[in-house]
């Protein structure tokens, strides 16, 4: 199968993730969508790596995973503390500051 198709898939996943960020209210879900976007990137990296015939892309994928993991740690900490304070994980509820 033409690896380009995987690129399309990556783009699709990325778009789905982005759309999710835009339309979902729950902070956890939003965050998961971001993770989806990162994983879409990973897919793209791997595909390009395959197409270029070098390993850089694959290595990056690992880095990305680590970074994503770190992000999860930080993100969950923040989101959880927010949830415990407000008893809600809706990002729309967190709108004290505006204008």
């Amino acid at each position: 199968m033409n690896p380009v198709n995987y690129l399309y898939l990556a783009a699709l996943l990325f778009t789905i993730g982005a759309t999710g960020v835009l339309i979902r209210r729950n902070a956890i879900v939003v965050f998961m969508c971001v993770e989806l976007m990162l994983n879409a990137c990973n897919l793209a990296f791997v595909v390009f790596s395959r197409m270029h015939g070098n390993l850089d892309g694959q290595i990056i994928a690992f880095f990305t995973m680590v970074v994503a993991a770190a992000e999860v740690v930080v993100g969950l900490a923040i989101i959880v503390s927010l949830f415990r304070t407000r008893h809600s994980a809706s990002v729309d509820d967190a709108s004290l500051m505006k204008l």
Binding site: V21, A44, V67
Partner: protein
């Protein structure tokens, strides 16, 4: 694609593994970053092993020493000519040690040091149960207003973790502008962003707003990172390499990035254009350019003020450094494509920031919008695409960061029962109550406004001059117009402070420890020195304005 071709991909891909050399790392040249990183780790250890009572002192000690040492290392590197003649790429192509990196690293380190002073300030908030407290939550994990929080306060807990977090962030920022490949860029981005997300959530007062700021910053930051990463992926796909130099060559056409066999599908400028646009977008998010600016006011307002000050200064320095390197090293071949786009971004950033700032009522939000407008001014220098453009941006960033930290430091001083009194109406008549504080703040505001004899003017002049020289005269005109609009709200604050009658229930001005005084003092000194006698620093920026490729 034929089967053999695919096969050859596999086999050639497998080959280099056997050839992996021991990485050659120039530890000396990376010393600034390594020192800070090491200190950050040491901070973690301190957190683990030093008794609570002395943790604060240990952390401050470690941080101060490491930042000073790192700065000394930067100076030593610069003195040895690494900024000019010996500039080169270290760590196997990952890090560029050249003028701009050293200049920006120096700036970040100094800004970090001054910011650290404001982090360490413990005299502003009234003592809680006999314990001196700083601006950070007693125990971040406890729910605001809960018993556990009260208990934590009673026990005199403080979040000394902010110091290692700060050091991690600084370390990331040190790498960010000197990153010479896209992977390093991304990692550095995350390394300095993640601690900042956390720091934002740690305010002692107004914790709801603090947490909200953190959530917003985090989600939007992660969102932007994803874009950056996707951009990196596309660029990698275009050039087949992460290295700046290599990509630049591909862009220039000196090297074909792609196997000729793949050229039909892959050697496609669309990848390049989309990819670079997405990376640039991620950087523009960090500098707070319109339309990627919307996190700025909320986060600046909600974050603990010392964090805001540090973040506003250092993030901007690091991000502009990275932006400069990206545009000047990787994408100079594309400048006819990105210049018009950046023109538009600069224009709407300058105007948008200035216009929306007019109607702000919170001093921190006001400064946030002001920082957006300033991002626009700096972008004008970036667009110059000349050596002058680089040096003017470097100079502007150096001046701007100290003004910013100083200004936010002043904000921490003005307090009422609810902590910092950030609503503008409470600042009425401040000039009558505390002429000195008001005067200092006025100096910062005038510097923001770009009044001559302040660093703001010198910086603005340098940037606009570079832009005009680079053929962006209309941009200069827009810049001048938005400066005029911006002047309006800076002046409004001055009017409020000096010409309005003080309110009876108005805020008091806390007398800070020498730490904050030092931060403010450095801010004023730098503002005036860079305003009156900027030549030395301009020379410095000039020498430091050549990127290594």
């Amino acid at each position: 694609m034929s089967a053999t071709a695919v096969h050859s991909l596999w086999t050639t891909a497998a080959d280099p593994i056997s050839k992996i050399d021991t990485p050659k790392i120039e530890y000396g040249q990376l010393a600034p970053t390594l020192i800070v990183l090491g200190a950050a780790l040491a901070g973690v250890l301190v957190e683990a092993f030093v008794p609570r009572r002395s943790r604060y002192y240990a952390q401050v000690f470690v941080s101060v020493v490491s930042l000073c040492a790192a700065f000394a290392a930067v100076v030593a590197l610069a003195a040895n000519g690494y900024g000019t003649t010996k500039a080169h790429i270290a760590a196997m192509g990952a890090i560029a040690v050249d003028g701009p990196s050293l200049f920006l690293q120096g700036t970040i380190l100094l800004a970090g040091l001054v910011g650290l002073f404001t982090f360490a300030e413990r005299r502003l908030d009234p003592e809680a149960h006999g314990n001196r407290v700083d601006s950070f939550a007693a125990q971040a994990a406890s729910v605001p207003g809960s018993d556990s929080e009260k208990a934590a306060v009673r026990a005199g807990f403080t979040t000394t973790e902010v110091f290692p977090l700060l050091l991690f962030a600084i370390a990331g920022m040190l790498v960010f502008p000197s990153a010479n490949d896209l992977l390093t860029l991304f990692v550095a981005l995350e390394v300095f962003s993640l601690p900042l997300y956390l720091l934002c959530a740690l305010a002692r007062r107004k914790r709801l707003m603090s947490q909200e700021a953190a959530v917003k910053y985090f989600l939007l930051g992660a969102f932007a990172s994803a874009f950056t990463l996707f951009g990196i992926a596309l660029l990698y796909g275009y050039a087949g390499s992460m290295s700046y130099g290599r990509i630049a060559q591909v862009v220039d056409g000196t090297v074909t990035g792609v196997d000729p066999a793949l050229a039909g599908t892959m050697g496609n400028d669309a990848l390049l254009l989309i990819g670079s646009a997405m990376i640039v977008m991620g950087l523009l998010f960090k500098v707070g350019a319109v339309p990627f600016h919307m996190w700025t006011p909320d986060v600046y307002q909600g974050a603990p003020t010392p964090v805001t000050g540090f973040m506003a200064a250092a993030t901007k320095v690091a991000a502009f450094g990275a932006l400069l390197r990206l545009l000047y090293v990787v994408l100079p071949g594309l400048r006819w494509d990105w210049r018009p786009v950046m023109w538009a971004v600069a224009v709407i950033t300058m105007l948008g920031g200035a216009i929306v700032a007019i109607t702000q009522t919170d001093i921190k939000r006001l400064l946030a919008y002001s920082s957006i407008a300033h991002a626009g001014f700096i972008l004008a220098g970036v667009i110059a695409t000349s050596k002058d453009g680089v040096s003017s941006v470097l100079f502007y960033l150096a001046g701007y960061s100290f003004v910013t930290i100083g200004a936010f430091a002043v904000v921490t001083l003005v307090r009422d029962a609810g902590g910092e009194a950030t609503h503008l109406s409470k600042w009425a008549g401040l000039g009558r109550r505390s002429p000195l504080v008001a005067a200092v703040f006025a100096v910062f505001l005038l510097a923001f406004a770009g009044i001559p004899l302040t660093s703001g003017f010198a910086g603005k002049f340098a940037v606009f001059k570079a832009a005009a020289d680079g053929g962006a005269a209309p941009l200069v005109v827009v810049g001048v117009i938005s400066s005029a609009i911006a002047a309006f709200f800076y002046i409004r604050v001055i009017v409020l402070m000096f010409f309005s009658e003080p309110r009876p229930e108005g805020p008091t001005v806390a007398v800070p420890s020498p730490l904050t005084m030092a931060a403010i003092g450095v801010g004023v000194a730098v503002t005036l020195v860079l305003g009156v006698a900027p030549q030395y620093f301009l020379d410095l920026a000039n020498q430091a304005s050549v990127f290594v490729r």
